[in-house]
């Protein structure tokens, strides 16, 4: 920007005074931005440290707590009060006293950690089984409104982690029929659920940033499952259980509802395509769970098609909305896909020197092409 201002001055488009003033303002703005970033970092680290401190203090179950243990309600009441105080303090600071907005956000983030710690305390006091999915689920339910109302990125990330942990712990508590529950079923369910939640019209229209975060994590989970599927497929899944079939059906229904209740708009055209792709993917998942025998070549073919569609989606979405993060994720997905397939097939059927030289050249060309496209987009963004 500074170079451009100097060029404008040189071309006579602006006066020297105007140029000097603009440069001074840019400098001031940069300093302000740096200070704000430092503040955000300090407050966020402080909130995380405080949260971790409380959790480890509780985990330690130590002598100070023995005092509180004399009456088991004391510990719960104390934790609840600290949590509510942190939350309401954050809300008040945010709304009434606008002097410390970053501190307010940090307190709200802290309360989202403390509410989980409070549930853990109850679990600890009553010896409720460890790593419980119920505990993770109610923690998730408790912080989701916070993520959306206060538009907090940190709480949003925590909600994604909790959603994934809930699913993992839930299936961990069940008796698994097959090992592929972990390699295929859970990643697809986590990915689809995150993607579908992100596409709920209210979420999509009002909280687009959160949607994007959910979608990127969801896509990565589905992508790696598809990569596994392109390499190895079991002959039969046949997981004919309510616990496997019902969630797939539920997410399909949610996708249909997302589409049915969509509002017209540029971004919602994409929702149509995504819901449709989600329904197709989950229908195949359902068919695979029900079918007694699976045609491995067919599944491998479908997995390859699905990866190509996913990567194409990524590039399409990234360039359409001029979002560099999505383009980077799509770049990585394409590179890993090309590398996996090249290593898999090339190593067996090619001369070894040719394998390395050809592979290097292909990746180099691909990298240059993608870099060029991304730079063009970045340039476009700067000009805008």
């Amino acid at each position: 920007m500074e170079n451009r201002i100097l060029k404008w001055q040189k071309d006579g488009l602006i006066t020297e005074d105007a140029s000097r003033q603009m440069l001074a303002e840019i400098k001031e703005e940069k300093i302000k931005l740096r200070k704000t970033r430092i503040n955000i970092t300090i407050y966020t680290i402080a909130a995380i440290l405080l949260g971790l401190g409380v959790i480890t203090f509780i985990s330690a179950n130590d002598w100070i707590l023995e005092l509180l243990n004399s009456n088991r309600f004391l510990k719960i009441i104390l934790m609840s009060l600290v949590t509510f105080a942190s939350f309401m303090g954050g809300v008040k600071l945010k709304e009434e006293n606008k002097k410390f907005p970053k501190l307010a956000n940090a307190l709200i983030v802290l309360s989202s950690i403390l509410i989980g710690a409070t549930y853990s305390v109850i679990g600890q006091i009553y010896n409720i089984n460890a790593n419980s999915s119920l505990l993770m689920f109610i923690w998730l339910l408790s912080i989701l409104p916070l993520a959306y109302i206060f538009k907090s990125y940190a709480i949003n990330v925590l909600s994604i982690i909790l959603m994934i942990l809930t699913i993992i712990f839930f299936y961990g508590e069940l008796s698994l029929d097959k090992f592929l529950v972990w390699t295929i079923f859970i990643p697809v369910m986590c990915g689809s659920l995150l993607y579908t939640v992100a596409n709920i019209p209210v979420v999509l229209n009002k909280y687009n940033d959160f949607s994007l975060c959910y979608k990127i994590v969801g896509s990565v989970a589905i992508y790696f499952t598809l990569i596994v599927l392109t390499c190895s497929v079991e002959k039969s899944y046949q997981m004919l259980s309510f616990y496997y079939l019902a969630p797939v059906l539920a997410v399909i229904v949610l996708n249909v509802l997302n589409y049915a209740f969509k509002k017209d708009g540029k971004e919602n055209d994409l929702l149509y395509k995504e819901s449709f792709a989600g329904i197709i993917l989950l229908s195949f998942m359902l068919a695979a769970l029900l079918a007694p025998v699976i045609n491995s070549s067919f599944v491998i073919f479908l997995a390859n098609v699905a990866i190509i569609v996913l990567v194409a989606f990524g590039f399409n979405y990234g360039y359409k909305f001029e979002n560099e993060n999505i383009i980077s994720v799509a770049n990585w997905m394409l590179t890993i896909y090309v590398a996996v397939n090249y290593c898999r097939w090339g190593w067996n059927y090619m001369n070894k020197s040719l394998f390395f030289i050809f592979g290097g050249v292909v990746l180099l060309v691909l990298g240059m092409y993608l870099e060029k496209k991304k730079k063009a987009l970045a340039g476009l963004g700067k000009e805008g």
Binding site: S59, T83, M88, T118, I122, Q124, N127, S142
Partner: protein, 172 residues
């Protein structure tokens, strides 16, 4: 806008309070109304990601007899209990339907004894009282003590619906 946010914040606090209250009261009801018994136990091990150290317990009544083939994974199972003069409970019968009121029984779920085992005969029962939380550094000591004595006893309170709360562990 400001009023909306305050309203949302109040609703969130009430929601949190309700969850905490429900969670606590449901456990308290079992403790207050249930009957206390001792169950023979064998410790297994380590650490919960949010709650610290605990001893993972397995009970003598946790293993489903191999002839009970009509029990499937994730089925609910009711273990009818007999209590001796020392208040030590042992299973008299495993049932799939809820026993009539007046009987002492504990509710559980059929699971694999070993999470990744592929054997269809490998069946155990989880009663939701398999984790005993202890002070940091004491889990190993307790495990060692219990293993040296071959087994210990878990002090458990069971309500009329078969829900149980673990309140303590002691040696033989």
């Amino acid at each position: 806008m400001k009023e909306n946010m305050e309203k949302s914040a109040k609703i969130i606090v009430i929601f949190w309070f309700l969850i905490i209250a429900l969670f606590t009261i449901s456990q308290e009801i079992i403790l207050q109304k249930g009957r206390e018994v001792l169950l023979k136990t064998v410790p297994v091990d380590p650490r919960d990601i949010t709650r610290g150290e605990y001893v993972n317990l397995s009970y003598e009544i946790s293993r489903l007899p191999s002839y009970k083939e009509n029990f499937h994974y994730n089925d609910t199972v009711y273990a009818k209990l007999d209590v001796d003069s020392k208040n030590i409970a042992s299973v008299s019968k495993f049932e799939q339907t809820k026993p009539q009121l007046g009987n002492l029984f504990i509710k559980g779920k059929v699971t694999r004894c070993n999470g990744f085992s592929t054997s269809t005969k490998d069946k155990c029962i989880k009663f939701g009282i398999e984790s005993y939380f202890v002070k940091e550094g004491e889990a190993r000591k307790l495990e060692y003590a219990l293993q040296n004595k071959d087994w210990g006893y878990a002090r458990v309170v069971i309500d009329k619906n078969g829900n149980a709360v673990l309140i303590g562990v002691e040696g033989r």
